[in-house]
Amino acid sequence: MEASNSTNVNKPASFDVLGLLKTIIHKSAAIVIFLIIWQLAPTIGLVNAIFIPPPSVVFIEMVKLTLSGELITQTLASLSRVIFGFGLALLVALPLGFLLGGWFKNFETAVDPLLQVLGQANPFTLFPVFMALLGIGEISKIAIIYWVCQWPVLFNTVTGIRNVDPILIKVARTAGLSKLQLFWKVLLPASLPTVLTGIRMGAAFSFFMLIGAEMIGASSGLGFMIIEAEGTFQISKMYAGIVTVALLGIIVNMIMIQFEKRVTRWKEDINL
């Protein structure tokens, strides 16, 4: 799937230290150069160190915030919102997608335009509506995250089910499978790659929306921490928050990709 994963395909099984080293250097070179420039630019006065502190300062700030417990508290507050919102989206959108794509095709054709419009509506513009309806507490934030990440999950699930090769369904019918068996043994595994793509997109969306929601109206969470640090001119704390959010995003994406690779092992690896 990802270009970065294709480098270790078709390698001999024996442990290749030199090759591994090469891969690591190859993959991390850009990041290292970026960090060096970031470190040097404020140090030699190319940019104002007050507004763009070097990564070493940001790193020290992150350690301090971790030790004081603040970073952990805020991260947990954010993560719990994502887990509830995203989890709810999976619980609703997956079954709904399977039903719409597999069993109620005519109904799906009828409601699809409406769903597309709802899915396209900018969630930030909807946030005031959610707050008005659900108050300014946790519920409205979880609800908006749920709202945002249900769409890619739903649309991809519908597409995945609809694109299952009809010949496979024919085979299943000749084998005399019941509707339920057809779903578990054919429709679900055949649509899984597309469904997982939707889930991965949903996970990424949930982080976007989380930070946005926390910046607009919250008293905890990483988004709140960033906006509060900015307001009180704690610039290095603000950067610590930004880096933490980026790292969380990377970790979640990596977990999703590993999960995808595990359950779709039967797919051909394509070297690009």
Binding site: A3, P166, L168, T174, A175, L177, Q181, A204
Partner: protein, 300 residues
């Protein structure tokens, strides 16, 4: 008594014609089969040969129980076909393997519906994989197999449910010439070992003569059986290297070619009157809607 008996079968498809070719109603019915009768004996290898779009795959789908005739009746052992059943194994032109299952697990697919316990399932699947010459490939996924091997797996899958009848819909059409010849010979060997009744659809005359005990030549749409030709070559003689240059082989091939030629010309006249899509439907395939592009952002 005949094993399979088709009597006066009629099957029409209603298709939505596209904008450029719309009649007054906006739809056009076309008749795939009309007055189609055929009887197939137990244990025989019957090849249905016909021009494309003559309804031969439609007939096979009906034998498989995937579609029902509009008129007429098809019976197996005197009982009308009510739907799909494990007394019939089907092999399609597209390999139709489950990409997420290994070769072994693909073969045992039909057995799972039969509620056979796991161990016995694996044993049966292994047995049939070895019958099609794929011992040692049990754990391979379809993407790790060549086209010929994939079709072998599909044949093993159809055989594993131990059906009485094997239905094959142009199973070798997608293979290269060499692989096709090898699989044809292997199919005859498998037939001799398992004594199945085989109904085999093709548009290749050479394939028909080589495989068939009898060849049913079909007319252009609407399809009926034009003539049934017996192939005067014994089953044993087919394994010989020069069976394809024997006088019997050549003679039968010429006979079939002459029969088919008129029909091909006719079917092309029909095709020029309708759209290409109509012809595609005539061969009994599920009408394929233009596939929506799958959403796959974030993948390369």
């Amino acid at each position: 008594m005949a094993k399979i008996e088709a009597l006066n079968v009629r099957k029409t498809f209603r298709i939505r014609s596209n904008r450029t070719n719309r009649n007054a109603a906006g739809n056009c019915d076309f008749v795939a089969l009309d007055g189609f009768s055929l009887s197939i004996n137990k244990g025989e290898f019957l090849v249905i040969l016909g021009p494309s779009g003559c309804g031969k795959s439609t007939f096979l789908d009906m034998l498989a129980g995937l579609t029902k005739p509009d008129e007429g009746e098809i019976t197996i052992d005197g009982k009308p076909i009510a739907g799909p059943g494990l007394d019939r194994g089907v092999v399609f032109q597209q390999y139709a393997l489950f990409a997420w299952r290994t070769a072994l697990s693909n073969v045992s697919f039909g057995l799972e519906a039969k509620k056979i316990e796991k161990k016995a399932r694996a044993d049966l699947a292994k047995k049939y994989l070895s019958l099609v010459g794929l011992s040692g490939f049990e754990d391979r996924y379809p993407f790790e197999l060549s086209g010929g091997m994939k079709q072998r797996v599909a044949i093993a899958r159809a055989l594993a449910i131990e059906p009485e009848v094997l239905l094959m819909d142009e199973p070798f059409a997608a293979l290269d010439a060499q692989t096709r010849e090898i699989l044809q010979t292997d199919l005859l060997r498998i037939r001799d070992q398992t004594q199945k009744t085989v109904v085999f659809v093709t548009h290749s005359i050479e394939e028909a003569v080589f495989l068939a005990d009898r060849v049913a030549v079909m007319t252009a749409r609407p399809g009926v059986v034009k003539k049934i030709v017996e192939v005067p070559i014994s089953r044993e003689a087919r394994y010989s290297d020069d069976v394809k240059v024997s006088p019997e082989f050549t003679k039968t091939r010429h006979e079939l070619m002459a029969l088919l030629k008129e029909e091909v010309v006719k079917s092309q006249e029909i095709c020029s009157k309708c759209t290409i899509e109509d012809c595609g439907l005539g061969s009994g395939r599920t009408p394929v809607a233009p596939l929506p592009v799958p959403v796959s952002l974030g993948s390369k």
